[in-house]
Amino acid sequence: MSLFFAACTKELSNDFNQYTNHPLNDTVWVKTVANTASVHELAQLLTPVLFSDSLEITRDTTLTYGDSLEISFTGGTLLTSTGAPATGKVKLEMFRLKKKGDYIKAFKPTAAGDTLMVSQGAFFVRLSKNGSELSLAPGATIRLRFADAEMQPNTGAYPFYGRENNPIPALGIDTAFTWRVFENISIKSYQKQVSNGTIKGYEVTSKYLHWISALNPLDSIRINSTKITTILPLNYTNKNTVVFAVLADRKTIVNLRADFVSRSFSAINFAAKSRIKLISISKIGDDLYLGSKDILDPGNGAIYSLTPEKKSLASVLQFLDGL
């Protein structure tokens, strides 16, 4: 009789065996994220392509890119790695953080520490000769003029430079990056007559290369600030995920820091009554995951859960460009 039962039993089964070293199965949080963590691979995927040009550095040079950007160099102020003045033509690499998504792509939130700021504009400038990066001579400066049609320069903006890790990670996210305000340097507003009218912008003089920006601190609204905490499914850890908060009505991009203890991402000093979009970007294995949530009027100590979905790189970039 058992043979009959054996003959009639419908056997349909699957035996699942979890890969031991697959990133998706790694749900472990770490106190310190290693440089090899997949989250750093996001920087390589999302960082925009730099614009490059060349100039004769032995004389004063101003490079104009349309009506919205001018960059001026003083001749003989660039030094090689040996400290000798650079001569001849040098290579200029530059990138302008214009949209909110650009700050995320470059992993350069508009915050100095826990101080949230509104960006008026930010740039990355790099000069090199024969593959060797050049630096500004002590006391030398470069001048940036930038403007666009939507910009309404205000007097509350400050010039900032980006403080990077030393050495700068060749690949990946500079987790030590923060904005520092230039001491004794003021930002100027300027306007330029163009064919169809007048555009207004800022003029920033910087004594450092690399990251330069004009930011407005949000000190005025700190009184009613609140903390936002985001939790994600167990697959998303601080090794593979970054979370940003983007204010809807301001160009303020905040990187929520990973908290090992609570397995969550959080940031403080958000103004109450703000409209915020929470964005998580994860790279697990070869796959990208994107999560987002719009927050309206975050309460005190609000905790939000994100559920990322697998997305292609193009989809992620498109999403970021649409912010």
């Binding site: 043979l3 065996n17 609570s262």
Partner: protein
Amino acid sequence: MNDNKFDDFVNNKLNEYAAPVPAGLWEKVAEGQLDQFIGSKLKDAEAPVPNGLWEKITDNQFDNFVSDKIEDHQAPVPGTLWDRITDGQFDNFVAGKLDSYEAPVPAGLWDRVTDGQFDAFVAGKLIDHEAPVPAGLWEKVRPEEDNRRVGFFWFRYPAAAALILAILSAAAWGGYMYFTRLKTNKPAETTQTTAPTNSNAGNNTPVTVTPKPTDNAAIVPPVANDAKTNALPGAEHPSNANAIPLNNSANISKEKTNRASSEPANNEKRIGAERSSSGENTVASPNTTGKGTGNKLLPPPPVNNNDFTSSSYDPFKNKTVAADKSTDQTSVKEPDVYLEPFQPSFTSISTIPFSLTKFGSFDKQLSTLNHTNQFRNVIICPSDKGGNRDWFVELYASPDIAMRSVTNGTASSLYMQKKDSSEAMQIGYSAGVRLVKPITDNILLKAGLNYSQVNQKYVYRTENEVKTTTVVSVRTIIRAPGDTVIVRDTSILQTVGFKNNTVSNRFRSFDIPVTIGYQFGDDDLKFGINAGVVLNISSWYQGVMLDTSLAVVPLNKSGNGVYKTNIGMGLYGSVSVVKRLSEGMHLFVEPYFRYNLSDMTTPQAGFKQKINIGGLAVGLRFNLNSKY
């Protein structure tokens, strides 16, 4: 003068002289003294028999005189005497002496004669007998060759054969149902039909047919038997033959008439013999009655006629009146004698005529005359064991073990390796129904419909499978200094890995098994062996299989072009044990093996695969004729 001269002288002188014997002289002569004297004197004397003397002496007088004298005499047979006497001489002598001798059968003799004795006697005499085959007989047998060729038809066109078999099975079933209904619903009609037909035939002594209901129910054969009755060589049946089943007529002995009151109905086995007008149990042989009519088989008496008398039943009345009245052995013809099979399947073909006169010893011992003079002409029919009118239906189910054989064709070795490692045969099952027709008590013909399912476990591995699990995570979150909350979040945990998928492949088929079997044993327990063919009607599939790119793809019903939808014919062999559970129901266990003759794969497939099946069928057999 010598003695002779003196004797001659005295004899001449005293030739006419008679002298009285002195008184008391004879008493003085001792008994035997004179005889010895005379005997010694006349020992060598010869005297002529006077004329007319022999005519005065009747045969009986002399024979009685001699037989009385030598009744107790025993004399040694001279040497070589027996050698000089041929068998035929002696037989002819005895036969001539006993030509017209009739002796009554001692009381109770028939009761002491068992059925098999006479059969054994006849069989012993005919064991080495050879008879010429009548002209045209072989031509009648020739159709068997055609049948043999038809047998190949099954091999050449299995699909057509399956259809034909299905039709035949349906026809058999329909026929069975028809005759069963006819038999069970119309037992009285036989009686009603018989009587008027006898009168229509002009029979002045109509047969009184009084069928016993029980006999009718058990013996009434199919209508086809009537045709066989008509086919008996030379037999002239009453016009009511069509209404009287052959079986009954053949089984009833006329001599049973005299003993019907004391003998049970199973005397039906004896051949009817001619009854003398005096009503004695004198049996006329075919030779005797055959004058002018030929040696025709005695026609069958009516069904269950327990009141047979010579006046009430005369099967030759219309044709052989004169012959029936004659008891003289005056036949100058040497007619053929037919051995009468007396079985339901009897036909004229199976009757082999031969002449008694062609065999000397047979002429002596088995000539009807001699035989009837020495024995009552009681011929025991062969028993009716050869015919079986039962029908059975079998319902069964079986766990099956499938044995697969795979050979590589054009497939790669990697394909075959992966296929082999992925597939494993498992227990399957079969179930079906069979109609069983016993040809005899030992030989069974079966046909039916069988469903079988071969199970195959197919295991394959798929990579990067994502498994989702709903989990509840608990987190302790500090919202603000001194404000700690515990958050329980329900979320989906995804894990990735590989899966070992197990799929059951199903190879299903409908088949028509046609088998013939031989069984033996008693009523309670029978053993049998069966063999036959299995004709596939249709096969279909379900599961997965490897395609040429080594990917696992679903296996559709038509076999993906790799497996056939008709796997052709197979051979079937089994042994069976049948246990009776009740009068109409048997339990049987039948280990069997099915060998498929062709591959189940198409010619386009890269490999050849064949599956043979062994199983243990367990089922019930129901007797459709059973009243229980």
